[in-house]
Symmetry: C3
């Protein structure tokens, strides 16, 4: 691998304790050249879907060759497998519990291997902290150029989380909220690449629970404190409140149904 | 530029989601040598004055040539301009909403340019996340040595936030609280460089709301739980409670009036 | 020193303000090659024991030669000393208030020096922020190769925090909770290296307050919501609740007594 290898970390370890620090120490011992970038460590403990969505929304912004390490791993120490997946542009390292699957679904996969060769683990391997003892050293060896086949046998399958597919309605698309961000914006499964909005933003509205708001180009199109839907920066339709929290104001949460509808113009002629 | 370029990030994006991670990914794709340093991402959402103060209190501690990226940008997507300002020692990149202005007021400015050349933006440019799509790539191109004139035309003016000037009183100085830090210390607009305290610390007191406390050299000069004022590490007079939160205990917040007064010694002769 | 020097930071400064950012700026001005790694900045303000434990649990995972900077320093500005300790594998920089002592107790110490040579401090030295003005520049000079004797005179002693020694009982070991992590796991002073559990996990239980739970290999050995004790990843016996917070559910906190007991098998024959 040429240039400075980047290893990203996306976990539910939080930043209150020393957990992430020791992961970086372990990486530094194996590949001192690797640059470690935190994506986030504040996924809700054990929230595999939250981690899967955060990865899918972020991984593609990194340089080609980046190694993405994802540790949202409520089954650590159980029989769930640990895997590395190579795609055309990236490598993904994490537990085989679906947390990698929404990103992998967008990539052209070259291979998936089990991480089972203890030669690449910290010794003794703890039962409770594979982020430090297994995923971090494997990622660091990978960034040094170790071929993936050395970590373990090839897998034909990996665990896939079902993605809630949006469905067409007479007047538009039905979907659901999939992620609430720190601003209280509710991101949905309605993707800009898939859900076309002919006629442009002025002709569409979004309904969710009691809420009804226009599709606009940016939050400031509505008055302070008012809700609006935008095709957001991560590529998903999101519901926001200008200067406030849509999730709090309208009790939106993952799973809340959302309906994107074309406005019927009473006296439309054209 | 010689040596390793540093790009700092000061935003209100928080660390709960993947936003800051993707900013670092975008920078790494354009200038892999750049070292990215987080100043903070926990400015209150949209709090331009909080961001302006945090920048003014921190920017000068970085190496010459550092590129400071500040994204507290409640007007993202609207008609507010994006700018880069070059000073004798640093570059500043951010929205032209005043968030850069308290730092710039302390620097000798060489030029200010609009960021309007889409060649340096991520494509497509989102309406809601210029931190990732506009400010990050411009900063990375700057760190690679792109001349500022290539980003856009030169500006004669930029938006300045009014700084609450302290004013003299018969017995000292009147000012106000401008920032509350995580310890609950209340930082004021009374600057050590400007507000002289002849006679030294023993001769001055500070009043704010119901509070009345001595000016001391360090917090431990007063008993645990007691308030004190110090000329703090960021160069501003601040009110603290030894082992507690001055802001909570005395309901101090940005805008609370503060009076620094010389003690009248009843039988002073000299 | 060969390769890239690592400087770690473990503080109670939080990440809400610009404090940690300026520490990194100061280090970058003195040794641009140094890679700074955050261990945590969320030690409770002034919690020396929390900082000491976090350091002891993390320092050894970093590469040989790493410089650990620890700033939990409620006595900043008072007469407490600032020190650098060199051990066979690491350097430790911080206030001489005991925060370094639990890590040092595990290391072979080569020397301890006072930091008293103002040539290596930021000027002017603030009374309230030695993290930025004293510890950061000293660590950066150390990483550039400055010999420790130049910082100040050699010390024969340093402040040691008493470590709560576990004691033997007829049926096992008595100890106490020493740290609560972000998951609500209660880490105890019962160390895997010292407290042997002959017969393996199936034969031991842990009692603490009203709680009584089995010693298991990993959390998933018990049902969701149920407590269990494990020999945790940091080398200490810890009490956890599968999918919950042991500290909250059972009101565990530092100092809570813990008893690790061998189960009496009524009709044991073998």
């Amino acid at each position: 691998m040429k240039g400075t290898p980047i290893i990203t970390l996306l976990t539910d370890f939080g930043t209150r304790d020393w957990f992430v620090g020791t992961i970086k120490g372990v990486i530094g011992r194996i590949d001192p050249r690797a640059v470690v970038v935190d994506v986030t460590h504040e996924i809700e403990p054990g929230d595999i879907r939250g981690g899967a969505f955060a990865l899918a929304a972020s991984y593609s912004f990194f340089p080609r060759g980046t190694i993405h390490v994802v540790v949202v791993d409520p089954g650590v120490g159980s029989s769930r497998k640990a895997i590395v997946a190579r795609t055309e542009n990236f490598s993904f390292v994490g537990p085989d519990n679906g947390v990698l699957s929404w990103a992998l679904a967008r990539e052209k996969i070259k291979s998936v291997h089990v991480l089972e060769n203890p030669q690449f683990f910290l010794q003794p391997l703890s039962h409770t902290f594979h982020g430090r003892d297994l995923f971090a050293p494997v990622a660091a060896h990978l960034s040094r150029g170790t071929p993936v086949r050395r970590f373990g046998r090839r897998l034909a399958q990996y665990v896939r989380l079902p993605w809630p597919e949006p469905c067409r309605t007479r007047s538009g698309w039905k979907g659901e909220v999939v992620y609430i961000d720190r601003f209280g914006n509710a991101l949905t499964n309605l993707e800009a690449g898939r859900v076309k909005v002919p006629g442009g933003e002025g002709q569409w509205i979004v309904e969710a629970r009691g809420l009804r708001c226009p599709l606009v180009s940016f939050y400031q199109s509505v008055r302070m404190g008012r809700p609006a839907a935008v095709l957001g920066s991560s590529g998903f339709l999101e519901i926001a409140v200008n200067g406030g929290s849509a999730a709090k104001n309208f009790k939106l949460r993952p799973g809340t149904p959302v309906h994107l509808k074309r406005i019927r113009l009473c006296s439309a002629r054209s």
